[in-house]
Symmetry: C2
Subunit: 798 residues, 2 copies
C-alpha cells in the first residue's frame, strides 16, 4: 500500500507521453463537447467561421463544474480499461449534465441508447441542439442520461446514493464526485459516516472525489477555504485517507490524477483482499478519497468584459452571455472552442480520432453502459414467503388483537433469510427497527456496523443487512442507491419524521416519473415507506412527534408513481406488504400501527379487501339488503377504523333500526377520480360504495381535508363529513388524542345524529349519553392519566 501522497517530494508521478496525450485528448474532446452543448445550434465542428446564428438564442447550462467532471470521466475511463473494473460513477455537482453527456457520447453509450444521436457530425449536432432545449435534455445527469443513477438537481444525495449502490456489490467500484457546494448540505455531511457501515467483504467500494473548484453560484465554497491541514483532519476524522490533486496546468493535473487514481484503487484492492482473505486487523479500513482542486470553469475564458471569470464564481453558468449580440463574445467563444484543437480530436466527419478513445472501455464496462446504472436489468423477483405462514387466524372480527408491524417483522425476517445468499434486500431505518416492532428481523441478519463494539452490544454485524443510522436522509439515500442499482428494500420510519425526507422522496418520485418515460430504462423495485409509530399513538412523545402529512405531500406528486395504503389490521398489512414488495417504479407509503390492533379480517378476506382497495364491511353495519343505508360510516387507518367500529357498535346498541353501512378504505388513491390516478374509482363504483346522497361520516387517519381534495368531484361530496387529525396534538393518552381531534367514537355518533334527517330529535337521549361519555373521559384522565376503562377495555360486540 502506498501512503506517500502523489506529487510529494521524491515521488514523481509517472505517465508516459502517449498516455498523457491520449488522456488530454479525451479531456479536451469532452470539454469541447460540453461548450458545444451549451452554445451551439449549428456548425458543431466549426467547419466554417462561427456566426451569431450558429449560437443558441437562449444560453442555458453550467460550464463551471464541467471541466472537472470531464477530467474524472477521462481518468475513470483509463482506470476501468487498465484494471477491467466494474465501475459506475455518481456525478454529484449540480448541472453537470453536459459533461456526463459528453463522456457518454464519446464512449458510444449515448448512441446505443439514442441511435439517432450518432457518434459523428450529425449526431454531434443533435447532441448540441437538444441540450437545455425544449423537448430536449436537461442540464443535470437525469434519468435519460446513460450511466446515471443520480440527478444533480437538488444537491446533497450523491454520496449516500453511491454507498447504496456499493452495498452488496462486492466487485463494484462506485466513484462519486462530490461538489464543494453540495458538501455544505446536511444530507451530504451526514453521509460521510457511511464509512462505518460499508463491509469490505460483502460490499463494493466507494471512491469519493471531493471536487474543490472553489465556488458555488455566487460564493466561495467553505471546504475550499479552510487550510489544507484542517481539511485533512476533517477527512481523516470521517474515516478517509485523503489524496490531493491540485493544479491548473493540464499535464501536471493529468499526472497527479492518474497517480492518485492508481494509489486509491491499489489501496481499495488491498483493503478488500485483506478483508476477504480474513486478514483483517480488526481495524476499520481507511478508505481513500481524492481531493481534486482545479479552477472553476477551467480552460474557459480567463476574462470577460474586463472581469476575471476562469477560477471564479463568474464561471458558474455561461461565461459568455451575449454571444449573438456581441461580436467580441462571439470571437471569444470561437477562440475558446478552438483552444481544444478540435481538428486533432475529431475527423472531418465528426468521429472521435484514435487517441481520444485510446482508454475508453468497451461494452458493459463503459461508464455510460454499466448495467448497475440501469439496475432494472439486474433485478430479480423478491422471494416473498407465502403470507399464510404469518397471517393471524380470525374466526370472528375483533375477537383477537395483534401488533401489525410485529407480525410484519416475521415476514421481513423470512425475506432476509431467503436473500441471505443473494444479498439483494435491505431494511433501513433511523434507529427505530425495534421501536417499530420489526425486531424479528434480527433472527435473520444483524445490523450493519463496522465501528467499534463492546460486549453488551446486540445484533451488530459486519455483514448485517439491516441499516440503522439516526439520519433519515442517509437511510433514504442508501435505499435509493440500492434500488436504482437493481435491488430491493424497505424503509421503516416514525410517521412524523418522514417529513425530514419529504424533499428527497419528491426528487425520487421525479426520477421514477422521468425514468418510466425513458425506453431503455428497465423498471426498478419500488421505494416503500413503512410509516409507523404514527400520529394517534404518539400521545406519549407529544406534539413534535405527531404529523400525518407525509401522505398529503406524496399524493400531490406524479400519480403514475405514488401509492398510499392504510391497512387497518395485521392481515391487511401483510397483504399490502406482499403487493408493495413486488411492485415496480413506485413510491409506496404504507401507514400501519405497532400497537395491539384488533384483527378484523382473515387472510383471504384481507387479500380480497386490499385488492379492491376500498369496500363494504357488511358484518360491521346494519343496512338491509337491497336498501340504501341511512348513513355511511367510512374509515381509513387503524385508529379511525377502531373508532368507527366502536361508533357502529354504539349505534347498533342504541339505535338498532338505523341502517348503517361501514366502508373501509385501504388504498387511499381509490377515492380519486379515475382520470387523475390509475387506482381511482369510476363514479359508478364510487357511488355504489359511498351512495350518491346519504350522509357519509368519514374517520380518516390524517388531515381531513385530504379526503375532500380527493373526493370533491363525487356526487356524495356535499354530504361528506370528514374527521381526522386537526393539529390538536399534545402529550396525553391514546383516546384523548382521538377526543381532542374530534375523531372519537362518541363524537362520530353525534356526527351521525346531526346528519341523518330527523335523528337528532328522535335520539336526544343518545346524544346525552355521548356527551356524558366525553365528560367521564375528561374527568378520568385528569385523575388517573390513563384512558377510561370502558374505552381501554372495549371489544367489538361481534
Amino acid at each position: 500500500m502506498q501512503d506517500t501522497p502523489p506529487g510529494a517530494p521524491g515521488h514523481p508521478p509517472d505517465l508516459d507521453a502517449d498516455e498523457l496525450a491520449a488522456l488530454d485528448a479525451h479531456w479536451r474532446a469532452a470539454n469541447y463537447l460540453t461548450v458545444g452543448q451549451i452554445y451551439l445550434l449549428a456548425n458543431p465542428l466549426l467547419a466554417e467561421p462561427l456566426r451569431p446564428e450558429h449560437v443558441k438564442p437562449r444560453l442555458l447550462g453550467h460550464w463551471g463544474t464541467s471541466p472537472g467532471l470531464n477530467l474524472v470521466y477521462t481518468h475513470l475511463n483509463r482506470a476501468v480499461s487498465a484494471r477491467d473494473l466494474d465501475a459506475v460513477c455518481v456525478w454529484g455537482p449540480g448541472h453537470g449534465g453536459p459533461a456526463v453527456l459528453a463522456g457518454s457520447w464519446l464512449d458510444g453509450s449515448y448512441s446505443d441508447a439514442y441511435p439517432d444521436v450518432t457518434r459523428d457530425a450529425a449526431g454531434m449536432a443533435r447532441l448540441f441542439h437538444q441540450f437545455s432545449f425544449p423537448g430536449g435534455v436537461p442540464s443535470h445527469a437525469a434519468p435519460d442520461t446513460p450511466g446515471s443513477i443520480h440527478e444533480g438537481g437538488e444537491l446533497g444525495y450523491s454520496l449516500a446514493h453511491a454507498y447504496g449502490a456499493a452495498l452488496d456489490n462486492p466487485e463494484l467500484l462506485v466513484a462519486c464526485v462530490v461538489g464543494d457546494g453540495e458538501a455544505e448540505t446536511g444530507p451530504l455531511a451526514a453521509a460521510w459516516h457511511s464509512t462505518k457501515f460499508l463491509d469490505p467483504v460483502h460490499d463494493g467500494a466507494v471512491l469519493p472525489v471531493l471536487h474543490l473548484n472553489g465556488y458555488k453560484i455566487a460564493n466561495p465554497a467553505v471546504l475550499a477555504r479552510v487550510p489544507e491541514a484542517e481539511l485533512d483532519d476533517l477527512l481523516r476524522g470521517l474515516g478517509h485517507h485523503p489524496l490531493h490533486v491540485t493544479g491548473e496546468e493540464p499535464a501536471t493535473v493529468h499526472r497527479l490524477m492518474a497517480h492518485a487514481m492508481d494509489t486509491a484503487l491499489d489501496r481499495i484492492a488491498h483493503i478488500q483482499r485483506a478483508a476477504r482473505a480474513g486478514d483483517a486487523t480488526g481495524e476499520r479500513p481507511r478508505w481513500p478519497l481524492i481531493v481534486l482542486r482545479t479552477p472553476k470553469g477551467w480552460t474557459g475564458p480567463a476574462e470577460v468584459d474586463g472581469l476575471p471569470v476562469e477560477g471564479t464564481w463568474r464561471a458558474h453558468q455561461v461565461p459568455l452571455a451575449h454571444v449573438r449580440e456581441n461580436p467580441v463574445h462571439l470571437r471569444q467563444l470561437e477562440e475558446w472552442l478552438l483552444s481544444y484543437r478540435p481538428r486533432e480530436l475529431f475527423d472531418t466527419r465528426g468521429r472521435p480520432r484514435e487517441p481520444v478513445l485510446a482508454h475508453t472501455p468497451h461494452g458493459d464496462r463503459r461508464l455510460g453502459a454499466n448495467p448497475h446504472a440501469n439496475g432494472g436489468l439486474l433485478l430479480r423477483t423478491l422471494p416473498v414467503p407465502p403470507l399464510e405462514r404469518h397471517a393471524v387466524a380470525v374466526d370472528t372480527p375483533g375477537a383477537t388483537a395483534h401488533q401489525p408491524t410485529r407480525v410484519l417483522g416475521g415476514l421481513v425476517e423470512q425475506v432476509l433469510e431467503a436473500t441471505a445468499e443473494r444479498r439483494d434486500f435491505r431494511l433501513v431505518g433511523p434507529d427505530e427497527t425495534a421501536s417499530n416492532r420489526l425486531q424479528a428481523v434480527y433472527r435473520a441478519t444483524g445490523k450493519a456496523w463496522q465501528a467499534e463494539t463492546v460486549p453488551t452490544d446486540e445484533h451488530l454485524a459486519r455483514d448485517g443487512r439491516v441499516m440503522e443510522i439516526l439520519s433519515e436522509h442517509t437511510c433514504q439515500g442508501w435505499l435509493e442507491g440500492y434500488l436504482l442499482t437493481g435491488r430491493h428494500g424497505l424503509f421503516s420510519c416514525y410517521e412524523a419524521f418522514a417529513h425530514i425526507v419529504g424533499s428527497m422522496a419528491n426528487q425520487h418520485i421525479k426520477w421514477l416519473r422521468a425514468a418510466r418515460r425513458v425506453e431503455w430504462r428497465a423498471p426498478v423495485a419500488s421505494l416503500t415507506y413503512l410509516l409507523t409509530s404514527h400520529v394517534w399513538r404518539q400521545d406519549h412523545n407529544g406534539f413534535s412527534h405527531q404529523d400525518p402529512g407525509f401522505v398529503d405531500h406524496i399524493l400531490s406528486k406524479s400519480p403514475e408513481v405514488v401509492r398510499v395504503y392504510l391497512p387497518p389490521d395485521t392481515n391487511t398489512l401483510l397483504a399490502v406488504a406482499e403487493h408493495v414488495l413486488h411492485s415496480r417504479d413506485h413510491v409506496n407509503v404504507v401507514v400501519a400501527g405497532k400497537d395491539p390492533t384488533f384483527d378484523w379480517l382473515g387472510l383471504d378476506a384481507a387479500r380480497a379487501h386490499c385488492a379492491r382497495g376500498a369496500g363494504l364491511w357488511e358484518w360491521a353495519g346494519t343496512e338491509r339488503l337491497g336498501e340504501e343505508p341511512d348513513v355511511v360510516l367510512a374509515c381509513a387507518g387503524d385508529v379511525p377504523t377502531l373508532e368507527v367500529l366502536a361508533a357502529a357498535a354504539l349505534l347498533r346498541r342504541h339505535l338498532p333500526d338505523l341502517a348503517v353501512r361501514v366502508v373501509n378504505v385501504v388504498d387511499i388513491a381509490r377515492l380519486m377520480p379515475a382520470e387523475q390516478h390509475p387506482h381511482g374509482m369510476s363514479d359508478h363504483e364510487f357511488d355504489a360504495v359511498f351512495t350518491r346522497d346519504r350522509p357519509v361520516v368519514f374517520g380518516y387517519h390524517g388531515y381531513p381535508w385530504l379526503i375532500h381534495r380527493l373526493a370533491y368531484r363525487r356526487a356524495v361530496h356535499p354530504h361528506l363529513h370528514v374527521r381526522g387529525y386537526t393539529e390538536e396534538g399534545t402529550t396525553t393518552t391514546h383516546f384523548d388524542m382521538a377526543v381532542r381531534n374530534g375523531i372519537d367514537r362518541y363524537r362520530l355518533v353525534m356526527d351521525v345524529l346531526d346528519r341523518v334527517p330527523g335523528l337528532a330529535v328522535r335520539a336526544g337521549g343518545v346524544r346525552q349519553l355521548m356527551a356524558d361519555a366525553h365528560h367521564r373521559h375528561h374527568d378520568w384522565i385528569r385523575a388517573h392519566g390513563t384512558d377510561l376503562p370502558e374505552v381501554a377495555g372495549w371489544t367489538w360486540p361481534g
Copy 2:
C-alpha cells in the same frame, strides 16, 4: 490560553472540597428530581416507604440522557455564577425535558413562570405529577420550559439554533449540548461549519458540549465508537479545539468538567478579547468544544432483571418498567432514589438545602430566566422604511414591468442599513441571494464569512449580516435561533427547495403554536420565507427545480400560525413585505417572482388590495355595474395573473359582450372558511367576490387541488374549475410550462367557452383561434427554442 487537555499528566484539575460537594449536591438533586418526574405520582420526598400507588400508572420519559444534561446544568450554573455570564443553553438530546425542568425548578425560574409549582414539597409533587401526564408537560424542553429556545423532539437542529442565538449577541454565551444520536443527522452535521460564519467581534460564542453517552434508542452512536484520535481529527477538522471529559466516577467527572468548562471559557474570552482589540492574527479562531463521555443512564440501576442497564441502550427510556406490578422493581426504584441521599438535598418541607443552591445564579442570570430564551422580551420594532421610496409608479396597469424581488432587495437593503448599529436583522439563504435578485443588500452589508478570502471575492465580510451557506437546514436553523432570541430576519429560497426544510418549518410552527399558549412567552418576530425562482420560471433548470408544494405543506399546519401570500406584482410584494416584517409569531410564506413582471397596481391600490387579501380588479374585467358577471376569472400568483389577464384581454377582443369579472387573490387563506383560519372569508364575503353560481375559472400558482380543499364548502364550489401545476415539468420555455400544465391564456379562454352556458356553440370560431395558437406555439418552440413572439412580446391592451 491553556492548551493542555484537562486531566492530562502534570495538570491535575483543581476543585476544593466545598465546591465539589456543592456541585455534586446540585447534580444529585437534579437527578433525583428527574427520576421523580418519570416515576412518582405522590410521596415526592420519600417521606414514607415507596408503595405501588405512589408510582405513575403509565411510565413515560427518558432517563438515559438526563444525568449528562444535569451535569451540564450544574456546571453551567457554576460558570455563570463565577463569571457573571450572560448565558443560555440549547439542550439538543431528545427527551431531555425532565433534566431541564429539574434545573429550572432548582434555580427558581420554574416557580417564577408557574407560581403553583413552588420550590417546596407541594411544588415538587406538582412537578412530578405533571410530567408526561395528560394536560401536563411534554418530555422535551418545549416552549413551556423556562430557558428553552429549542425542543429536542425532532433531532438535528440544536447546533444551528445555538449559532442563531449567538449571532449579534456579542456578550452572550450559548452552550449547546449535542447528543451523539443527534450528531448523526444531516442538519446537525452541516451546522458544524457555522464556525466559518461566527464573527468573534460582533457575535457571541457557542460552546458545544458533544455528549457521548454511547447509545441511541437501540444502537450505539457512531461518534462514540470511533477511536478518540479519529474523533479529535474530525472536531479539529470542523474548526474546534476539543476538550475531553471522560469518566463515571462522579467526583472525577466534576473535577474534569469544571476544569474543561474553565478552560473553554478562558479560551473564548481570549478569542473575543483579541478579536475585539483588533489583535486578531487573521486566522480563524479555533473555538473550544467539550466532549463529555459519561455512561447512558449514569447513576441509574446497573442491572434490571439480570440484564445490564446503566451504560447501555437499555437505559434510554424507563430502566424499571414494571414498578407497580413488580416488588423487586419497586424496591430498586426506591433504592435508586435514595442513592441520591434526598435528605441531604431537601429539607423536610422539600426546599433545596443550601449546598444544592450554592452555585445557582440569580435573577436574569439563571439559565431558566435569561431573557434571550424568551426573546420576545428583547424584541424591538423593525425600522422598515416607507414603501414610497421603493414603490414603482403605475399610471396604467400593465404598462411597465419590474423584477419584484429586485425592488424588494432595495427595501431589504434599507432595513439592513437602518439596523447597522442595532444588528437585529439578518437575511439568510442558500447561496441564492443574488440569484434571487436581492443583491441590492450588498450595498448595506456583506456576506458573513470568516474563512479564507482571495482578491477576486466580492461582498464577503467578517461582520456581514447576509448569511449564505448551501444548506437550507443551516439557514433555517440559524434564523430560528435568531428569531427566538428576539431578532428579525428573512429567508430567501428557491421555491422547490423549501421542501428540504419542510420538516423544520413544521417543527417551528409547532413551537410557535405551543408558545402562543404559554402566558409568559412574549411574541417573537415571524419566520418569513421568500420563495422565488418559482415553478413557472424554472423552465431552464428543469423538473427537479419545479415544485410549488411547500404552500400545501404549510397550509396544513396550525392556522393561528401559518400565512401564505402570493403577490402578483412589485408593489403588492412590497405591501406584503411590510406586513410580514412587522408580524409576530407567524410563519409567513411569500411566493414572488424574480423575472420582469407587469406592474398592475400602484402602491396605494396594492396596499388596499393586500389588506383585503383578495378582490376584484374591475379595470381588467368587462362586467356591468349591478349585474352578475357571466364568468369569473380568478388568479393567484404572478404567472397565473399574467395568463388570466391575457385571457381576459382575448375575451374582451373576441367576445366583447361577455361579462367577465377578474379576481386576484394575494392572501390564500382568505379562501378558507372563517371558522378554519383567522383570515378566512365569511360565506357572505366569499359569495360577493366569487358569486354563488357563475362559472369560476381559477388560475392558481401551485397544485390546483389546494384551491378545492380550501373552497370546497363554498356555494360556488360546484362551478369552480382550477388550473395549476400538475407535475408536467421539464426543461423548456416560460410559456411552454404554462401550456403543458394547461394554465396558459389560450386554454383559459377555452375553459371559459366550455363553462359559460351556450358559449361554446356561439363562439366556435374563438375556440378555433385558441387551438391554432397552441399549434403555433408547439411549432415555434420546436424550431426556435424560444416563446412565440406574440406571447413573449404581449402587453396588456389597457
